[in-house]
């Protein structure tokens, strides 16, 4: 999977490394602002602090 990605990135190795960093940054942003908050919401029943 990752080898396939590496093979299909254009340019010399340093440009590919640059693309990898960009992709990683985009994935991190997506996780931080979209995916993790969503998962966090699903976990709410196990993080209760009220008596009910």
């Amino acid at each position: 999977m990752y080898a396939w990605l590496w093979r299909h990135l254009p340019g010399p190795w340093w440009m590919r490394v640059g693309f990898c960093v960009l992709i990683l940054a985009a994935v991190a942003a997506l996780l931080n602002w979209v995916v993790f908050p969503w998962v966090d919401g699903l976990l709410a029943p196990w993080q209760s602090v009220t008596v009910r």
Binding site: A3, N32, F36, A44, S48, V49, T50, V51
Partner: protein, 256 residues
């Protein structure tokens, strides 16, 4: 990387066409997916413990400080402000999500403050501040004024609530003024013990005293079966227009 190496090796063995190559490549991708999933789970735990926790904590601290500053313009400083043991009756009940006050607990840090928000919905508790139980009393009124907040994650507001000691004060600040409570005791109950927010906690008696109850989860961290309950009793109310005594003011505003 691994998939590529296995792929080449399989290509070299012309005697066994296809099957080994496809199998190793599928297993290679599956392995990479599983490793990726593991890394994502670890990343989520780290995000919850540190990144989101710190973000929410900072946001709520700033919001509380902003509320205090906004109301501070209405309170001239007096040398010797007069408190009262019978605060005026409050009428307007906060709606869900409404920031109507500021919680000060000097034991949790000089200048430590968090917003007081109407309601105990997940949205309130996870993002906005300490949630006010809508069936409980308003600050300073006869009966039980109750708030909930997180022990771990989402700002970890009540993380160190178990360090409160006899003699500590808890102050509820609203636009009307400052309600000063004295910490009395802590108890640990199951999450079903709804009677801790009764007008008289753990009782059906009619209320005579003015109490404050804080609830959070226990034990820390990553568990949810019990609740830590912190009880305080009302001592004095300082109206907004009279200001705060210097000693108390220093405890509440020493930080940010």
């Amino acid at each position: 990387m691994a998939a590529r190496r296995h792929g080449r090796r399989a290509q070299g063995r012309a005697a066994q066409p296809g099957t080994a190559s496809v199998l190793t490549r599928v297993l290679g991708v599956l392995g990479e997916l599983l490793i990726t999933f593991g890394v994502l789970v670890l990343a989520f735990v780290a995000w919850q413990l540190w990144i989101q926790d710190a973000t929410v904590s900072t946001q709520q601290g700033d919001r509380a400080a902003a509320l205090s500053r906004q109301w501070a313009s209405k309170s001239p400083s007096h040398a010797d402000p007069q408190g009262t043991k019978t605060p005026p009756a409050a009428s307007t009940r906060p709606t869900v999500g409404q920031a109507f006050g500021v919680l000060h607990i000097p034991r949790l840090g000089v200048g430590w403050s968090r917003p007081l928000i109407g309601g105990t919905t997940i949205g309130v508790l996870n993002k906005l501040g300490a949630g006010w139980y809508p069936q409980s009393s308003l600050p300073g009124q006869i009966g039980n004024t109750a708030f909930a907040s997180h022990r771990g994650g989402h700002g970890s507001n009540f993380r160190y609530l178990d360090t409160l000691r006899y003699g500590d004060v808890i102050v509820l600040e609203t636009e009307q003024g400052w309600y000063v409570y004295d910490y009395r005791n802590t108890e640990y109950v199951m999450d079903t013990a709804v009677s801790v927010v009764n007008p008289v906690p753990q009782s059906t008696a009619a209320a005579k005293a003015r109490l404050l109850t804080l609830t959070t989860c226990n034990p820390y961290p990553f568990t949810n079966g019990e609740r830590m309950i912190v009880y305080s009793v009302f001592r004095v109310f300082y109206p907004r227009n009279g200001g705060l005594p210097a000693s108390l003011s220093a405890q509440l505003q020493g930080g940010r």
